[in-house]
Amino acid sequence: MDDRHEITGISRRTVLQSASGSAALCAAGVSAQQSEPATAPVPVPSATVRTVALRINGRGYSLKLEPRVTLLDAIREQAGLYGTKKGCDRGQCGACTVLANGRRINACLTLAVMHEGADITTIEGLGTPQALHPMQQAFIENDAFQCGYCTPGQICSAVAMLGEHRNGHASAASPDLRAPMAALSDEEIRERMSGNLCRCGAYTNIVAAVRSVAAKSRT
């Protein structure tokens, strides 16, 4: 590869980015060959970089990006906020969970351009090392992770989940949808957090961490 010389001696993150970039190009080449044009072929538009204004953690960003760039890639690669993780990149694992106007979403399955004007909160916006968010503190106290890769998504998800419950949102584990929501049982926490996978299997301690914050916010 031509860019190999350029990346020698640069940080591990840059190498990884370049590697995944070339992999993505190869993959795109394969699928372009295999996918059939529907009827009359419509040409692929040439790259149309546009300026997209995003507000992330209260700070304004003016990012130059193509419309196909996901919110996840914009947050990581353009805004340089690496706390939000790319796991499956297909909406199956929840590692990329961020809050958009306070609602938890998978940043990998939405385009950055669709969030102009929205308030995005990532793990970096929840707390700081000096002043942790109660959920971050609870994850530490309950040893709610092993490798930590899913943790930013778990924490963002859990914070939003408690807000949903406070607002009376139901879940598939709620016994009666026509009645007001009761206090969160462990079964409820598990169901409501099922969009966040933990490959290390730290679920027992994740539930304990979420439970402890839920209990505190009730009093």
Partner: protein, 328 residues
């Protein structure tokens, strides 16, 4: 993902005009479409973002019933006070689907348009998929077909409709309201999704120049006696192997009206009017339940790996009806 243009529609008329152009696709929540684009299965040249159109209200219809805007997010529909009170079956079905994150993004219109989760459709490494490449064959028919259809399938396609919401909408006899260049059209839920036949690439009867603007729920008295039962490989965050939406109106133990639809078994929510008729006017009991199930599953034909779905569906129908009717 190939490069593309993006345009945010500001009015419904604007959206319809842009959406009708070759290579255009509507995007609502994007949870299914962007996934398909990443896999090279969907290759739109331009996305027309309809998510900010003023179509997200949920409001009572004159004369009873409820209109749900097509851009209402799944979370907002599931938790709407009127939906939970009058159509808890719909809330239950929505909450049984996907994850909270996805439900926060996904729209009602997008959920209606959700495409199959057949592995062979989703993976472009497989050449044969009539839904993805018309005329290329069906790799699922003689491949791994544990999750595939047992009802209404064709030689060309054995895919299933993956939505939970759609199954509840079928049982509740919803109407899909669409708007095109020639005006508004109302499509009964029963006719919105189609069977694969010899054109499995076409999932629905929606026209190329049409946009879903709302779903209308008729007034009914099912709220006290309905149940959505979803059977899947894990307890949460998985597609249905079989699901049942059961809705009953009961008076003194006798069924006055019934809605019954199955998910995970066909290319569309599977509803058989005769099955509902078999329940109406009779007390809910083992015989009427068995009769309804026989009607629903009449003509079921297993593939190599999914024969289990037929007895599973039979038992799921019985459990859903018993739970809905308060017999358990």
């Amino acid at each position: 993902m190939i490069n593309l243009d993006y345009q945010r529609a500001t009015t419904v008329a604007d959206a319809i005009r842009l959406g009708a152009e070759p290579g255009s696709a509507f995007i609502g929540g994007g949870t299914n479409l962007i996934d398909l684009m990443k896999g090279g299965v969907a290759n739109p040249r331009r996305l027309v973002d309809v998510s900010s159109l003023p179509l997200s209200a949920i409001a009572p219809l004159p004369g009873g019933g409820l209109r749900i805007g097509a851009m209402a997010r799944n979370t907002d529909v599931a938790n709407d006070r009127l939906v939970r009170e009058r159509y808890p079956l719909l809330s239950q079905a929505l909450l049984a689907g996907a994850s909270a994150q996805l439900r926060n993004m996904a729209t009602v219109g997008g959920n209606l348009m959700q495409r199959t989760r057949c592995y062979y459709f989703y993976d472009t490494a497989f050449d044969a998929c009539n839904k993805r490449r018309p005329g290329s064959g069906c790799a699922a028919r003689n491949g791994h077909n544990r999750i595939h259809a047992v009802l209404g399938a064709s030689e060309q396609c054995v895919a299933t409709q993956p939505s939970d919401m759609n199954v509840a909408l079928a049982a509740l006899r919803a109407t899909v309201v669409v708007q095109g260049r020639s005006g508004e059209r109302r499509i009964p839920m029963q006719d919105f999704h189609r069977l694969p036949g010899d054109s499995p690439q076409v999932d629905t009867t929606l026209g190329a120049d049409e946009l879903i603007v709302a779903v209308d729920l008729p007034a009914n008295a099912f709220a006290l006696h309905s149940h959505y039962l979803k059977i899947r490989d894990r307890a949460s965050y998985a597609f249905a192997l079989v699901s049942v939406a059961a809705a009953l109106e009961m008076r003194d133990g006798v069924v006055q009206d019934a809605g019954l639809a199955l998910g995970g078994v066909a290319h569309k929510p599977w509803r058989v009017a005769a099955a509902e008729q078999a329940l109406i006017g009779k007390p809910l009991g083992p015989e009427t339940i068995a009769a309804a199930s026989r009607w629903v599953l009449q003509g079921a034909r297993p593939l190599e790996h999914n024969a289990f779905k037929i007895p599973l569906a039979d038992q799921a129908i019985a459990r859903a009806l018993r739970t809905a009717g308060g017999l358990t």
